[in-house]
């Protein structure tokens, strides 16, 4: 099915940008969609930041940002938070990724499910549960008072600690996912080889595994960092005004001051910073997720050799320390050649990973006891048992409308994204054309551009064409955000799909359409369903775009929750959160079941 093989004299007329559109047309709708509802709006927003009201060129907004100290401070804090979150996510996520990458496929699937639970659970629900746990009368406070006395000055919420805890929990799964993918490419035999050559566990890890895992760590850190740059929910709910991040400032500029130009300027700065970091990282360690750092064929320069020598010497130190510790332990408990050794390091790792997974999963479940309280306030443990807050939820037209609307929008988004994304993924993974890399970058860019920037840009464009406060507008916005996930998921499935099956069908007399309907799509069913669910969940949990473009007329579930969280957190929220948890669990378990059934014939 390679393009060159089928190239005919008539091809040239249909070729634009090196793409044969007669065969690659299915990618066109998705590209057009992104240009109209992503590239153009973001570009437009950035453009107006350079203009005055009558369209003349000005740098007024940027000089305002530069001269007002508060913006500098906010940028500094944003970077500080993003850096710290990245550090914690990578350091605590690394052992989890290590265990995942080196587990048997069966165990890996199970562990991965656990790591992904927070990914599927609503971000607002998780933030809300941290508010319950960390609050002044919450269980975390009781723990502190138990150890530090009732007058303890340690505060866990409405400060940097709260923001760290909430954001790290939100982003660590992302770091783990990226690092695991890269670590799975590291050959297990390398550690065995090091061991047979006389390396203890420490030396083998620090000298061999660790350097090889660095590209994965860098990719994970990059994605975590860029994503956290655009955060506003956790600092708003778990932090104080001193932890204000740049996305919150943009939000205020629009919602309260309707200052498009300044918001555009701040967005541009945020975007440029994100892209700059992306470019620097990309240059230093190779493309996102590619495990091989050193480029093939390129002879090592003097400088790179010097660096690698320094790096090696540096890594010898932790290796030396861990090995001395190992020897010390062996002096206490000598190795016996006639007894099975106890796997101390293995168990340490497992316990640590267990604690991280508890940190990732368990907090969300506090909403369940809180939701069944009989009292008027959020309290843990609940005061008495009742279902009154569920009655409140079910009896409230606001909540019911919001729930119904979110379901509708999520379903529509799921369908739109799956159709656009699957078609694009087919072209991207099956056809060869020179412009592939930039087009792939276009599809992934909604992940890199901070969500707040996308939301503001869409708001600006929707305002001009009257899509504010419409279901269509929300579906469009959510489709932009979930398209990257769908494209990546379907491309990953297509990568393992044996194209010879299609060729076999073709030689057996099936035309392309019948091949697609009877062979290709049924075999890819599982991948496409999980892509749909990804899009569904992304939309169901989406707040940023809903905040801007819904204009108070169409209130989605996250937006209704956000308003309550900001104004008056009450046990109804716990009841709503429990319902959302239940829905998420059904979706996760459902997709698991589908995948397990498919595993029967997909090897």
């Amino acid at each position: 099915m390679s393009d060159t093989a089928l190239a005919s004299p008539g091809t040239a007329r249909w070729e634009i940008l090196g793409i044969d559109w007669r065969r690659s047309w299915p990618i066109l709708p998705a590209i057009l969609f992104l240009f109209v509802f992503f590239v153009y709006p973001v570009g437009d927003l950035l453009f107006i930041s350079f203009t005055t009201r009558d369209g003349a060129f000005t740098l007024e907004q940027y000089s305002k940002v530069a001269t007002t100290p508060v913006y500098g401070r906010v940028f500094f804090i944003t970077f500080k938070i993003a850096l710290m979150v990245t550090f914690f996510s990578v350091v605590f996520g690394y052992p989890v990724a290590y265990l995942l990458a080196n587990a048997s496929p069966k165990n890996r699937a199970r562990l991965m499910l656990l790591v992904l639970v927070p990914f599927w659970t609503s971000f607002l629900v998780r933030t809300f549960s941290w508010m319950i746990i960390l609050s002044y009368n919450g269980p975390a406070r009781s723990l502190i008072e138990f150890f530090d006395g009732p007058d303890s000055k340690i505060k866990l919420i409405y400060n940097m600690t709260g923001v760290m805890i909430g954001t790290t929990q939100a982003l660590m799964p992302l770091a783990i996912l990226v690092m695991t993918a890269a670590m799975q490419n590291i050959d297990r035999n390398l550690l065995s080889a090091a061991s047979t050559m006389g390396a203890r566990g420490g030396q083998a890890f620090w000298r061999i595994y660790f350097p090889l895992s660095m590209p994965g760590v860098a990719a994970g850190a990059l994605l975590t960092f860029i994503t956290s740059l655009g955060f506003f929910i956790t600092p708003a709910l778990l932090g104080s005004p001193r932890e204000t991040m740049i996305a919150q400032i943009i939000l205020t500029q629009i919602q309260e001051l309707l200052n498009w130009r300044l918001a555009g300027a701040l967005s541009l700065i945020l975007l440029v910073l994100a892209l700059l970091i992306f470019a620097i990282q990309n240059r230093s360690t190779g493309a996102l997720g590619e495990a091989d750092s050193a480029s093939p064929g390129r002879a090592p320069t003097l400088l790179s050799r010097a660096f690698s020598r320094i790096g090696r010497a540096g890594l010898a130190i932790p290796g030396w320390i861990t090995d001395r510790l190992g020897e010390l332990y062996e002096r206490l408990v000598p190795v016996r050649p006639d007894r099975k050794p106890r796997d101390i390091s293995g168990w340490t790792l497992r316990v640590f990973v267990g604690l991280v997974i508890i940190f990732l999963i368990c907090p969300a479940f506090v909403v369940i006891p809180v939701s069944v309280t009989a009292g008027n306030f959020i309290s843990l443990p609940p005061q008495g048992l009742s279902l009154r807050w569920y009655e409140t939820y079910l009896g409230s037209t606001t909540w019911m409308n919001a729930t119904g609307l979110s379901f509708l929008i999520a379903t529509l988004t799921g369908i739109a994204t799956t159709v656009l994304g699957t078609a694009a993924a087919f072209v991207l993974s099956r056809h060869r054309f020179p412009a592939k890399r930039p087009i792939l970058a276009l599809f992934l860019s909604p992940l890199i551009v901070p969500r707040m920037v996308t939301a503001v840009a869409l708001f600006y464009v929707f305002a001009k064409i009257g899509l504010i406060g419409s279901i269509t507008g929300l579906v469009i916005g959510h489709t932009v955000l979930s398209l990257p996930y769908v494209v990546v998921t379907v491309m990953a499935v297509l990568k393992t799909y044996d194209i010879r099956l299609d060729q076999a069908a073709s030689t057996l007399g099936a035309n392309p359409l019948r091949t697609l309907m009877r062979i290709t799509l049924p075999l890819l069913k599982v991948g496409i369903i999980s892509a749909f669910l990804f899009a569904f969940v992304t939309s169901f949990d989406e707040l940023t775009i809903a905040l801007f473009t819904s204009a108070g007329t169409v209130t989605t579930l996250p937006k209704a929750m956000w308003s309550d969280l900001i104004l008056h957190a009450n046990p109804t929220l716990a009841a709503v959160s429990t319902v959302i948890l239940l829905i998420a669990s059904i979706i996760v378990l459902g997709s698991e079941a589908i995948q397990r059934r498919a595993a029967r014939y997909m090897g």
Binding site: S195, T196, R339
Partner: protein, 394 residues
């Protein structure tokens, strides 16, 4: 099981050098580099290695040969210390090493995909085991250059592994093991990833290094030709057990079981029943009129026993149809396979079974024999009598 008997160590035999740390006997033969005794390993319900014992002498090249799932790789990883056995002992160079972590064993291992560290230069790859042994920098340089000379790749030290060809990577993997002179080098299908031509070259190279430097090798392969070409002895494995341990020559010409006969080379198996074991003769009633005779009385069999007579195809002669029934089988030539130096002729016996005859080709090829009636004959020395069924004689 004669070979096995001589190899197995009589348990509890008193030994002059009893190690102080444990009450287990040290190896019977202090010169042996590797001594595996009664090692077993099961994964859940699958028995991967079932009570295997074998010994590798200093400078010996021993191959574990068997189909996939025969337990050869599991046995190898047990020796390397990568998987702990459920029972039995492993001695390496006279020291008990059953549960020693692999970094404390004196072994080297060549992996199927070589396991060269991709981020380290060839020099650093080879220097790695020496650094782990805290050798001085100057000495490391000398040693690495020495083994690079041995594997005939003196100028590649600065390159990364991926910049080398498959055969070169293979040599570097060997050099990395040879540089620290371990008691034994373990090789796990090291030629599996190479194509046919390169595989033959590397076979010669491995053989050269083994003979020239006297290294002791435990080798794993499923390729019988490779095993026959390289080994001093072969341990044929089947279902986790050592089926037969012999020299390549004995394994080929005196297989101890139908399985061994079938696994190594091509073989014709002719079923029959013993009619006489006496007077220096063993007589077997074969299919039809055929009588198989050997000039020795094989005391393993009694009159009336079922027996399988194994004859290698190259030991059969193809002739005109004759009335002979002693050590002769009539049939019709059904098909012919020409493979260059050798031609295989397939003869359909009168009872329907097929006999394969291998003829060494000379320039004079007769007319196409397909369809002709013919008789195959053999020398009685070339007949190996086996018990029916798959397993070895008990």
């Amino acid at each position: 099981m004669n070979d096995l008997d001589t190899l197995e160590v009589a348990d509890g035999r008193p030994d002059a050098k009893m190690p102080a740390t444990n009450d287990r006997p040290s190896p019977q033969n202090p010169g042996s580099k590797l001594d595996i005794r009664g090692v077993s390993k099961r994964f859940h319900s699958v028995v991967a290695v079932d009570d295997v014992s074998l010994e590798v002498a200093d400078g010996e090249f021993l191959t574990l040969l068997g189909p996939s799932g025969s337990g050869k790789t599991t046995l190898l990883t047990i020796v390397a210390g990568l998987v702990p056995p459920d029972g039995g002992d492993v001695w390496i160079d006279g020291k008990l090493a059953t549960y020693m972590p692999s970094h404390k064993r004196d072994i080297g291992m060549v992996f199927q995909n070589y396991a060269l560290f991709p981020h380290l230069s060839v020099f650093e790859n080879i220097a790695f085991p020496l650094r782990m042994r805290r050798m001085a920098a100057a000495q490391i340089r000398t040693e690495v250059n020495r083994v690079l000379e041995i594997v005939e790749l003196p100028e590649v030290g600065d390159r990364l592994p991926r910049q080398l060809s498959g055969g070169q990577q293979q040599r570097i993997a060997l050099a990395r093991c040879m540089v620290y002179q371990p008691s034994i080098i373990i090789m796990d299908e090291p030629l599996g990833a190479l194509d046919k031509g390169l595989r033959d070259t590397m076979q010669l190279e491995i053989k050269r290094l083994h003979q020239q430097y006297g290294i002791t090798v435990l080798y794993v392969t499923h390729d019988q030709e490779e095993a026959l070409a390289l080994s001093d002895r072969i341990c044929l494995m089947r279902l986790g057990r050592a089926e037969q341990i012999s020299t390549p020559h004995d394994l080929y010409f005196s297989p101890k079981s139908v399985f061994a006969a079938n696994f190594i080379g091509d073989s014709n198996l002719i079923e029959g029943r013993v009619t006489q074991v006496a007077g220096g003769r063993t007589v077997i009633a074969g299919p039809g009129e055929c009588v198989i005779e050997k000039k020795t009385a094989d005391q393993r069999f009694a009159v009336g026993d079922p027996v399988v007579a194994m004859i290698r195809p190259e030991n059969l002669r193809l002739g005109e149809r004759s009335q002979d029934t002693r050590n002769a089988l009539p049939g019709t030539v059904e098909s012919v396979l020409f493979a260059g130096s050798v031609m295989s002729v397939f003869l359909r016996r009168e009872d329907g079974a097929v006999v394969q005859v291998k003829l060494l080709m000379t320039r004079h090829v007769g007319e196409n024999p397909v369809g002709r009636a013919a008789t195959v004959t053999w020398n009685e020395d070339d007949v190996v009598l086996l018990r029916p069924g798959d397993s070895a004689d008990e």
